[in-house]
Amino acid sequence: MAVDPIIEFRHVTKRFGAHEVLRDITDQIRVGEKVVIIGPSGSGKSTLLRTVNRLETIDAGEVLVEGISVHARGTDVNALRARVGMVQQSFNLFPHMTVLENITLAPRKVKGEGRDAADERARSLLERVGIPEKAAAYPAQLSGGQQQRVAIARALAMDPTVMLFDEPTSALDPEMIQEVLDVMRDLARDGMTMLVVSHEMGFAREVADRVLFMSDGSIEEAGTPAELFEHPRGERTQRFLSRIIAH
């Protein structure tokens, strides 16, 4: 039943006033593929990611998820979002709920799951992200890394067919980055389709099937990590990589 490609961008264009944030983006993401988007800030990579679950509107072109046009008038956006998991830079856990409640809210309210089933599933997801003991904690009692792992579990609780990661480690202290990347690696190993905006080059090299380099709202260059990191063709790509790797 899997639709391949699972995500398709067709000539996607978006403007803020006169400024073009996305220019004629076309790309396909296959089922199970791991794609990492890199590029300087303001290049449109987060915006592109957010078009996939319609957190962003577009001005021209089309985004398809499992063959369904995301921005079409008749599309049930909530049903779509339920299948597309998203992890944001700033965790955005619900501060008034415990970890368990954070994870079970959407399964219960959107999918109508029973409390017991949802709880059980949430606990197994917490196990999977390595913090089963934090089920009853409130977000403020967790470290940044733990909060982000809860956010991943929260997204996974909806059984998404694809996961979007929007700079998931940029708001974290350095010592917490690895614990989040480890969870993401596990997820990749299990075959999840992943679209990741990130500056973690090591992670991209290790996990990505393809790397997209974005600049000024366009995909400047795409290729396997080996191709892109070892033999970047474009001048902008070279400049960007030399700056990032020098760090």
Partner: protein, 248 residues
């Protein structure tokens, strides 16, 4: 010792049930006026807070004038204005109603600001996260936005309720037999003449509910989820600005 120190009837009247009964009636009236005014203030406060957050100036500005004016006015002046003012118009308002109206004018303005701050405290990222999980607009308001805002407002509203309860004492200027007036009636009675004792007792009768409420406000202020709500606020401020377009 008090027999030597105090003049007048001293503590003796407090051995009689009728005196306690009289004071308790006053306390009940004070609590009733506070409760009704608070309910009305919440209703008006919600309207004013939402109006102040509205886009059109024609809605925003009158609400701003209402809030800024009434919150900056002495309550006693408002009581005089409503009571003596209404006496000059065909619709004559009774003293208790006048006090409730004046209390509502002042407190609704304060409550409106508390509610507005609560609404403004909901970070966009959290709403977006709930929408990204597939929650509908209504669900994300019901389960995420409104609970966060209510928790944020709770301590402020409870503190304001304390102020409101204490402020019912101003009703005594219109000779309403609430707690303060009842106290005065007792110690002004020539055979009693014991303001020290009566005011001490009455102070305690104000103190107990107020202090209980202040403990409640403190509890609401503390707690892990409360800290989280405050922390969520600062987190959004330090993290990169969200893109300009709104989630649908």
């Amino acid at each position: 010792m008090s027999d030597i120190l105090m003049v007048g009837a001293g503590w003796e009247p407090f051995t009689r049930w009728a005196i306690w009964r009289f004071l308790f009636d006053g306390l009940v009236l004070a609590l009733e006026m506070a409760a009704i005014s608070m309910l009305l203030s919440m209703l008006v406060g919600v309207v004013m807070a939402v109006a102040r957050l509205a886009r059109p100036r024609i809605i925003r500005w009158p609400a701003m004038v209402y809030v800024e004016t009434f919150r900056a006015m002495p309550l006693l002046l408002l009581i005089f204005f409503v009571f003596f003012g209404s006496a000059r118009t065909p619709l004559k308002i009774g003293p208790v109603t006048a006090v409730v109206i004046a209390l509502t004018l002042y407190n609704s303005a304060v409550v409106a600001e508390i509610i507005r701050a609560g609404i403004l405290s909901i970070s966009r990222g959290v709403i977006e996260a709930s929408r990204a999980l597939g929650l509908s607009y209504l669900q994300s308001m019901t389960y995420v936005a409104i609970p966060i805002a209510l928790r944020r407002m709770a301590p402020g509203v409870v503190s304001q309720l304390i102020t409101l309860f204490k402020d019912t004492s101003l009703a005594s200027v219109l000779s309403i037999l609430e707690l303060s007036r009842s106290a005065r009636v007792i110690y002004d009675t020539p055979t009693y003449g014991n303001p020290v004792e009566v005011l001490t007792v009455v102070a305690a009768m104000y103190f107990i509910p107020s202090y209980a409420l202040s403990l409640l406000a403190q509890r609401l202020e503390a707690g892990p989820e409360r800290r989280a709500i405050l922390a969520a606020d600062t987190a959004t401020a330090t993290i990169a600005p969200a893109p300009a377009s709104r989630p649908e």
